[in-house]
Symmetry: C2
Subunit: 229 residues, 2 copies
């Protein structure tokens, strides 16, 4: 038979709990450094401690939580150094994705991206920042998908979640926004030209700009030294 090999999957409690916690962390309900009391969370999530602790282990593996023996789990608080390293890695991953994508992209893919780019420019014109962010993320995810390497995609997503947990708000002025939109335009051109090297360079620089914007704001608030992994 082989029904396309898609076994239906009911979420098990640890998975469901992990998903919920992941959302709470990336959405900023649980802030970096926050201590997670097991009993308290059990009540809130409606699960017992055993599955919750398994969820903790999963999230710790993703680098969203740190678990200190006999002292519980807390939301990871990245130091500026940690953030720098994470961004550096992210740049490499994005660049690699771009390189692969340029080699594997189809004309349909490019058409789809051009639509997204148009939507993004519209959002930019309207000054609609939330929509811009959403489309921005969609574009980057799309490039990653085109790259066609699940191992890369997995790593990318995980690291992305960790960066989101930073709760950064870069000082995003008009000039930088303009710049970012222009960079996206260049990216799609590079992709259409199947120029992997150029695309890689663009993506790496694109992320470097973001990194700098974030690190600047982090320097200002100067978070008191977070933990390394």
């Amino acid at each position: 038979m082989d029904g396309s090999n898609i076994p239906i999957t009911r979420l098990t409690l640890p998975e469901a709990a992990a998903e919920r916690l992941r959302a709470l962390i990336t959405e900023g309900v649980l802030l970096p450094g926050a201590k997670l009391n097991e009993r308290e969370l059990c009540e809130q999530l409606g699960v017992s401690r055993t599955p919750l602790r398994e969820a903790f282990r999963m999230l710790a593996g993703d680098g969203l939580l740190v678990q200190l023996p006999n002292r519980g789990a807390q939301v990871v608080a990245l130091s500026r150094e940690d953030a720098r390293h994470a961004f550096e890695m992210m740049g490499a991953l994005e660049g690699f994705a771009g390189e692969l994508a340029a080699a594997r992209v189809t004309d349909d893919d490019i058409a789809g991206l051009r639509v997204l780019q148009a939507e993004m420019e519209a959002a930019h014109a309207c000054g609609d920042l939330p929509t811009y962010y959403r489309i921005n993320r969609t574009i980057h995810d799309a490039i990653n998908a085109i790259a066609g390497n699940p191992v890369l995609t997995q790593t990318y997503r995980t690291l992305n979640a960790r960066l989101h947990a930073l709760r950064f708000r870069s000082n995003f002025n008009r000039a930088k926004w303009e710049q970012a939109v222009a960079e996206h335009r260049s990216m799609i051109e590079a992709l259409a030209a199947r120029d992997g090297l150029a695309l890689r360079g663009l993506l790496v620089r694109h992320l470097c700009a973001k990194q700098q914007a974030v690190l600047e704001t982090m320097k200002k608030q100067d978070v008191q030294g977070g933990t390394s992994q």
Copy 2:
């Protein structure tokens, strides 16, 4: 006071169990696809099911295990496609490490690597394959360390473990060995010249060669389709 901020860490049972299991998997005692019976393993490791299951979650996060709801855990069995993707990613990681390392390497680092290179060539001359492999790994780890990005190192290590769990034995003839040793020599030269681009290229090609050797043997035995992540 601040005693250099190194809290002594007694291993908790889940961590200890995970470490032991990880070793069993990478050393090939537990083979790809092997089903892990909880009760059985509990007895063998001398822990109860709760910590063992937390260990499972950790290893699943590392991609060494797959957990099927209500059907237990088993050692991951990578299909040829999965292996291809993992190697592709590994190449990118190594290449990136090389690029960073070239930018950050010190003369002392290079001196140390030259010593390792000499040892490696000696092992090669003697035909001592195990020693060669050990030194080989040491060199690659060293480059990674010089790169100085813990996020990268962590990702590298994890993926490396997954690849080791493949239990591949590439057909490693004299010619390929010779080639590999020569490539290592070039790497150190590139590093000494602080030529990140060249080093990246060398590392990527170096890993491509390995990948091809492994995939060739995988094709021969033709593992019946493993699982994706």
